[in-house]
């Protein structure tokens, strides 16, 4: 199970890397989004999978799933969302200003 998820995350990392290395801003942003998906999966896996019940205290439970990675992932999800939103709007501004979303065309811009 863990092996399978790690391989899945690896494939996602490869996809994300390919997208990040492209020239168009939208692809790059998608790449970063997919990269954060992969990282969240990895974090989840590192805590071990399906080793106990939901981490909500109740009378008849013996073992709980590791709650710490879950807390970490929750933080990470929110932060990556904030960053993605910011970059998207940045890309929008950039396009408004320069009329291009091709990074090669944007090379050597001097900031006024």
């Amino acid at each position: 199970m863990e092996t399978l998820i790690i391989i899945l995350a690896g494939v996602l990392v490869a996809v994300a890397t390919y997208l990040i290395l492209s020239k168009h801003i939208l692809r790059i942003i998608l790449g970063t989004a997919i990269l954060s998906h992969a990282v969240h999966l990895l974090l989840m896996t590192m805590g071990g999978l399906k080793r106990g019940s939901t981490p909500i205290l109740a009378e008849n439970k013996v073992a709980y799933t590791d709650a710490l990675p879950q807390a970490l992932i929750l933080t990470a999800i929110v932060i990556s969302f904030a960053v993605t939103a910011f970059i998207l709007v940045l890309a929008y501004r950039l396009y408004r200003k320069t009329g291009s979303d091709n990074l090669d065309a944007l090379r050597g811009m001097d900031d006024e």
Binding site: M1, L21, K23, Q70, I73
Partner: protein
């Protein structure tokens, strides 16, 4: 008193601008003049005590934890130098008062000069190597400022830059040498290092430390092949050339060699390096001086060659330490005595000569030998001083140069007959080289006198009224000229009071043995060295007469093979190639930079993991895979790969949200309800955001990249994914210790909540949550600002 003496010039330099402002009627040089005069009087009062072997020392703690303390020691060797610095400093400032007009920026000139004086005193008085290094660099900097005093001239800036680059690179290597010494002995104090010299000899760092420290000394003292900065430093005002580049700063390297002789002379390399470099410098400097047409350049090369002479004498003298305590040792250490004596002599006559050239320059308006001539009747006093200085430099009686030249020949003959060598013939080289160089020296001294002051007066080529300069300007060179004769007449005054105490510093522990042997006499009877001197004069006159016929020799060395050309070429080449190199990888394409980062990641992380055998995994501990997991894994794999082939951006974004929602399902399957909830909402909002931006962003175009670049892109992606998988699997298999999560299962007792994840977020690790909220907040402000802010507004503000 001694530490105060170092600080006085620095403090005085601070007051110069004020004095210049409040007493505009008085030439600010008069205020500056009081400082070196005071210092000179102060130092001279210690001379009798020093002759009895008393040493003054004083310590101020600076950085005691590193063993760096401001220790000033006034012993015999330092005494020679401080008297030169303060004495010649007084004369130079007196001369400069008349030399520089009121139109010049006098404040700057005297501030730099006092700064230099203080740092030079610091160099020769410091016992601590680190403090010595600090002052050493300060002399480099103040020299740089003084050379570029007329900064509007291109040549001045070039000369200043050249001298700074060469001397500072030497200084840095010297610093490394000091640190190596420190690592061997554990002290920065020179005296303590001398005391523990047995520790150092034969250690692996001994030779590197020696070479690096010598590099510092050679660059500062303009030894071959680092001499090239000195002729270019002649763009400085003449008082600066007289002070820095003849009497004091270029002697700093000599001081360093003399000071470190007791430490390094135990190794044979010290003797060979210094003697050979010194003789090379002596020969090359005197040979090149003859071809110069500018008087100052000629004097610069003559300074180089005289410094080489002193350096080679110091090298020869160091052999005495190596041979140990025998009676012959006294004979060999005579060389060091000659070195110190010539050092003093050189400062006197070279200072005088520079001042003479300055007077000629001011009164006649040119320094070019080809335009000068017949000034003897016009500038009689100046001519007299020039004659004294030049003949002393050539080594003729009755001037002090004769004495030190005789001692030089004696030392060379002594070393030449030493059976140190694998075969006897090599010993002959020393006297031959020294003698030839002396002939050249004689020739250029004759050029200075005869081409400038005798011959025909070329009135049509010079512009100015030719009359003697004001008396004030003549005082300083006259004093030096009188000194030249005075030292010849009473050499033993200097010998007893200055040179003998210094010998004790160079040959520690031998004071009693050596004391009576050093007397200087003008006449020792018909010894070989006297015949050598007579030979120099005879052959020298012949060579000078035939100068026209053999001047063509200099054309055999084309300019593009000179060391200067090498320096310039290196400098431009360095700049060009570093620019090329930078341009080759700083392309400005973000894609390229990302590729470097990924390749570095793959190489370093993957390489380390593979080579250290970290990649190992066992899959036995895995949980089993249910049917839902299989379904969602397949969905995600298909969606992920399909994104790469998406034809439109809508497809791509939807596939991305398929990924997101599948992960939310995984969270459900992995028993993480909060995560599933959050992921669902966030994914929805993100997708909405993407779709919102579509309205403003351009279409999803096909990428146009070369096949080569595409292959690279695919390769990097696959390698990154693979490394990610391998490391993930290895980490998963190599669990070292149990999780700490059991502690969080006390959520109810400790935090009063049933939901463990929420208890962690809100209680156990609430800081993360707080700052994550801040992140969201900042991103919100950023988004708002980006949408609202119109960059064009700024122009209106500028207009108002």
């Amino acid at each position: 008193m001694i530490v105060v003496a170092i600080l006085i010039p620095f403090i005085a330099a601070m007051f110069i601008p004020l004095l210049h402002k409040y007493f505009p009627k008085i030439h600010v040089g008069w205020f500056a003049l009081t400082i070196p005069v005071l210092l000179f009087v102060g130092f001279i009062s210690y001379a009798p005590a020093l002759a009895n072997g008393e040493i003054q020392s004083y310590t101020i703690h600076w950085i005691p934890s590193y063993g760096i303390n401001f220790t000033a020691i006034l012993d015999g060797l330092s005494m020679i130098f401080v008297l030169l610095i303060s004495g010649i400093g007084s004369l130079v400032i007196l001369y400069s008062i008349y030399y520089l007009s009121e139109k010049e920026s006098l404040r700057h000139f005297y501030i730099y000069l006092l700064l230099f004086m203080g740092s030079m005193l610091g160099v020769v008085l410091s016992d601590n190597m680190m403090v010595l290094y600090v002052f050493w660099e300060l002399t480099s900097i103040s020299s740089f400022l003084l050379i570029a005093f007329w900064y509007h001239r291109k040549k001045s800036r070039y000369g200043a830059q050249k001298s700074l680059l060469i001397t500072v690179s030497g200084g840095i290597s010297m610093l490394v040498g000091f640190l190596m010494l420190f690592s061997m002995t554990g002290t920065f104090s020179i005296r303590e290092t001398i005391a523990s010299v047995d520790l150092i000899v034969g250690q692996p760092l001994f030779i590197p430390a020696m070479v690096l420290i010598l590099l510092g000394a050679f660059t500062k003292s303009a030894q071959f092949p680092f001499h090239i900065w000195l002729p270019d430093a002649m763009e400085a005002p003449t008082p600066v050339s007289a002070y820095l580049h003849s009497a004091t700063m270029v002697k700093a390297g000599i001081y360093l060699v003399a000071r470190f002789t007791p430490i390094f002379a135990m190794g044979e390399a010290w003797f060979w390096i210094i003697t050979i470099i010194g003789l090379m410098t002596l020969f090359w400097g005197s040979f090149t001086a003859i071809r110069q047409t500018d008087l100052k350049a000629l004097l610069a090369y003559s300074t180089i060659s005289q410094l080489g002479l002193v350096m080679s004498l110091l090298g020869m003298g160091s052999i005495a330490l190596q041979l140990g305590y025998r009676t012959e040792m006294v004979l060999y250490s005579q060389a060091t005595f000659a070195a110190l004596f010539h050092l003093v002599n050189h400062s006197t006559f070279k200072g005088a000569l520079f001042m003479v050239v300055g007077i000629v320059d001011l009164q006649v308006g040119t320094r070019d030998i080809r335009r000068l001539g017949g000034l003897m009747s016009i500038l009689p006093i100046t001519f007299t001083i020039a004659l004294i200085g030049s003949f002393s430099m050539a080594g003729l009686p009755p001037f002090n140069g004769f004495l030190s030249k005789e001692m030089f020949f004696a030392a060379v003959l002594q070393i030449g007959s030493l059976d140190l060598f694998s075969w006897d013939a090599i010993g002959v080289v020393f006297p031959v080289v020294a003698w030839t160089a002396s002939v050249f020296t004689f020739v250029y001294c004759m050029i200075i006198v005869f081409k400038t002051f005798l011959g025909q007066y070329k009135g049509e080529k010079v512009q100015k009224q030719d009359i003697e300069p004001p008396v004030g300007m003549l005082i300083a060179p006259s004093v030096l000229g009188l000194l030249v004769i005075g030292i010849f007449l009473f050499p033993n005054v200097i010998g007893t009071y200055l040179l003998k105490p210094a010998m004790v510093n160079i040959y520690p522990g031998l004071a009693d043995q050596l004391a009576d042997h050093y007397t200087i006499s003008a006449w020792h009877g018909f010894k070989p060295e006297l015949w050598m001197t007579i030979g120099v004069i005879g052959i020298g006159i012949l060579v000078y007469k035939l100068l026209k016929h053999w001047k063509g020799v200099y054309r055999l060395f084309p300019d593009q093979w000179s060391l200067d050309a090498l320096y310039n070429h290196t400098l431009t080449h360095l700049e060009n190639s570093s620019e090329k190199l930078t341009r080759s990888y700083m392309t400005g394409y973000l894609r390229g930079y990302l590729m470097y980062i990924y390749i570095f990641f793959i190489a370093v992380v993957g390489g380390v993991a593979l080579f250290s055998g970290a990649i190992s995994f066992d899959l036995s501990t895995d949980a089993d895979i249910g049917v839902y997991e299989w379904i969602f894994v397949c969905i995600m794999l298909v969606a992920g790969i399909a994104i790469l082939f998406a034809k439109s951006r809508l497809t791509a974004v939807l596939l991305n949200s398929v990924l997101g929602f599948s992960i939310a399902f995984f969270f459900v399957l992995f028993r993480a309800p909060d995560l599933a909830l959050t992921q669902t909402i966030i994914e929805t909002v993100t997708t909405a955001l993407f779709l919102l931006c579509f309205y403003f962003l351009p279409e999803w175009k096909k990428e146009h990249i070369t096949p080569m670049s595409k292959m690279l892109q695919i390769g990097i992606s696959i390698a990154t994914g693979l490394i990610f998988i391998l490391i993930g699997l290895s980490v998963k298999s190599g669990r070292l210790f149990d999780s700490i999560s059991n502690y969080f299962e006390n959520a109810f007792e400790l935090a009063g909540g049933n939901n463990i994840v929420n208890a962690i977020l809100g209680d156990f690790r609430a800081f993360d949550t707080m700052l994550e909220v801040v992140v969201l907040f900042i991103a919100g402000i950023g988004v708002y600002a980006l949408i609202k802010f119109k960059g064009e507004k700024r122009q209106d503000y500028e207009d108002q």
